[in-house]
């Protein structure tokens, strides 16, 4: 069946090259746009979930998180754990957090008339090592970062402070600014006042709804010394997390719960599933449109060339060669659309968004092309183009010679 492919190629090239250049360009342009659109929506979805994932890793969990076993309140010998893991070549930095929660109050006019409150997580940190792990320093939107010796001071998340743009929480402290004093009432009824040294916003809302204080400050509230609630381990590459889990399992850390970002991002995983679903639907619709475009182009072309097809058949060119020539044309438009669409996406659109990321509530989004999604789009597109050109080719070319030549 494919033995006469060269003849088909010859016929296809003649018709493409000697055909109307305008409609050729228009056809390829339509295919390009349809494919680009497909890639773009997919890449935006992937970009959103990547941004969210990165936010969780960078500002919340790190690549690996070490926590107490269920039932234990704290990691007892924090320094031993650090000693045990810090020499692995892929461990970039380690931060220890002491965590608790408190009701924060902002007495707006200092007279008890209007007190805003917010139930928040409070994290005790060591500022000297924290910034290497959770980089809040580059996300300060007002004031400065917490520093060594800042007793009685706190760094506040923008979602708690209020008045710093959109937040997923219905309430906040209604406008706390640098220099303001707020009151924290801890679960054990200890009450402390803090002066706000700065406000930060990472766009990871779990982080932005916390208050950071000195670990020593929190130790005095909770009565702890060498304990911590979580140890955030940053790696040189997030793809080394499984290796880290394996290695950590070999040294004796069995008293602790160790998980990597993959396990922590279950929320991202569900949303990814929804995105994948929407992506698939859009892909199918897009491919259908592409198939339809090819069908119309090829069909109109064949109908306009009926007589020529009749002549070819009359002089003994086999039907299969003529059909193949139309399929080759359909593929030509499709593949050209795919290639140009991909290039424009990869170097044009993504390049543009790298320079100008979209400001999403969950972070700055740059579209990302997923290899799997790209492969699926290409396959579906090619199949659609194939069907779109095959149907009119079979339908028309098979007609009787005299009918075609009339």
């Amino acid at each position: 069946m494919w033995s006469n492919i060269k003849l088909a190629v010859f016929l296809a090239i003649k018709t493409i090259l000697r055909g109307d250049k305008g409609s050729l360009i228009l056809t390829v342009l339509i295919m390009l746009v349809v494919f680009l659109n497909l890639l773009f929506v997919d890449a935006v979805f992937k970009g959103i979930s990547t941004t969210m994932d990165e936010g969780k890793i960078n500002y919340q969990y790190g690549e690996v998180t070490i926590e107490p076993r269920p039932g234990d309140k704290y990691i007892k010998n924090t320094n031993d754990v650090i000693d045990a893991i810090q020499d692995f070549y892929y461990v970039r930095s380690i931060a220890t957090h002491l965590r608790t929660s408190a009701t924060l109050k902002n007495d707006k006019y200092n007279d008890g008339r209007d007190v805003a409150q917010f139930g928040a997580g409070v994290v005790g940190i060591d500022p000297e090592i924290e910034n290497d792990s959770i980089d809040l320093k580059s996300h300060i939107i007002e004031g400065k970062c917490l520093e060594k010796g800042d007793y009685g001071k706190a760094l506040l998340g923008a979602d708690i402070a209020g008045g710093y743009g959109s937040s997923p929480f219905p309430e906040d402290l209604e406008g706390v600014r640098t220099g303001d004093k707020i009151t924290a009432i801890y679960g054990n009824d200890v009450v402390r006042d803090y002066e706000i040294v700065g406000i930060y916003k990472t766009k990871n809302f779990d982080t932005d709804s916390k208050m950071f204080v000195l670990q020593d400050d929190l130790n005095s509230v909770l009565g702890t010394t060498n304990e911590s609630s979580e140890i955030i381990v940053r790696l040189t590459d997030k793809h080394l997390s499984q290796k880290a889990l394996d290695d950590f399992a070999k040294i004796n850390l069995s008293n602790y719960e160790i998980s990597d970002w993959n396990e922590k991002l279950s929320f991202g995983a569900t949303i990814n599933k929804s995105f994948d679903m929407i992506g698939s639907i859009l892909r199918i619709i897009g491919s259908f449109v592409a198939g339809l475009v090819i069908f119309i182009i090829i069909f109109v072309d064949i109908v306009n060339r009926r007589k020529q097809i009749g002549i070819l058949k009359a002089i003994g060119i086999p039907e299969s060669a003529i059909m193949q020539s139309y399929i080759i044309r359909g593929m030509f438009y499709t593949v050209l659309g795919i290639i140009l669409g991909f290039l424009l996406m990869n170097f044009g659109v993504i390049g543009f968004f790298r320079g100008h990321p979209i400001d999403f509530p969950m972070g700055d989004m740059v579209p990302v092309i997923k290899r799997e999604a790209l492969r699926m789009s290409v396959i579906l597109f090619v199949v659609a183009g194939l069907i779109g050109s095959l149907i009119p080719a079979i339908k028309e070319v098979r007609k009787k010679i005299l009918t075609l030549m009339r």
């Binding site: 033995s3 003994g316 010679i401 005299l402 030549m405």
Partner: protein, 251 residues
């Protein structure tokens, strides 16, 4: 005369066009034998079935009923591939309306039937391409069109188009050439040039079947079949066969 091989032999051929509402009996039992090397003209009034008969004999269409033996073989069981093979290798067509491929040069038009090799079922290789070129050039020379290789059909006169069509028809050195009113769209001088080419081909041994209205044109043939209302009513030899006065047409 009986000893000469019959290239075409048909018996009681009928052709009915059934459009659903009406049935047109275009051929009502045509029987005839044509020997290899003959030059036969088919004449008759408009609508009598000349073209229909030619289409059936040249495998552009199938008869509704009747037997058709081509080079001694019953054509009843020939499949599409076989018919494409015959049309490509053993038959050449010349139509009243030229039927050249648009947007394809004169050279490529003539080359087209060569591009598919039915014997090896492959497209030809480089070596073949060379001989292709010679064959196309020879075919174009034989119709005096070798000076218009790269013209497009739209840039040619009617007579020139028809001569290119003839070159295409004879590129595979077919046994038989069918020509349906080949001079119908041409002025008398171009018409004579075309008839001159056909005469030459017949002299070289090609069987020629020519459909025409005009008795002057028909008299170039050796034999005239007269068809009326889908039936052959007369089959006679031409006693003083006309031939084109070459001095007259080559300026």
């Amino acid at each position: 005369m009986e000893k000469i091989a019959k290239i075409i032999s048909c018996k009681d051929i009928t052709k009915v066009f059934d459009t659903g509402e009406t049935k047109t009996h275009a051929l009502r039992g045509v029987s005839c034998d044509i020997a290899e090397g003959e030059f036969v003209a088919i004449m008759g009034p408009s609508g009598s079935g000349k073209s229909t008969l030619m289409h059936v004999l040249s495998f552009l269409d199938r008869a509704t009923e009747g037997g058709y033996f081509f080079r001694g073989k019953d054509t009843k069981d020939f499949d599409e591939e076989k018919l494409a093979f015959i049309r490509n290798q053993e038959i050449g067509f010349v139509f009243q309306s030229f039927n050249l491929m648009q947007r394809v040069s004169v050279f490529e038009n003539v080359e087209l039937p060569l591009l598919y090799d039915f014997y090896t079922k492959t497209t030809q290789n480089k070596e073949d391409k060379k001989t292709n070129k010679d064959r196309v050039m020879n075919a174009l020379k034989s119709v005096s069109m070798e000076h218009r290789l790269h013209h497009m059909p739209s840039q040619l006169s009617g007579g020139e188009k028809q001569r290119v069509a003839i070159a295409r028809a004879l590129i595979n050195n077919p046994k038989i050439i069918f020509a349906d009113e080949p001079t119908g769209n041409l002025d008398s001088k171009s018409g004579l040039q075309v008839m001159h080419v056909l005469e030459g081909l017949n002299k070289q041994g090609h069987t020629i079947i020519l459909v025409t209205h005009e008795s002057r044109t028909a008299e170039h043939a050796q034999r005239i079949l007269r068809i009326v209302d889908g039936k052959i009513v007369d089959d006679k030899r031409v006693h003083n066969q006309r031939s084109v006065d070459t001095d007259n047409i080559l300026k």
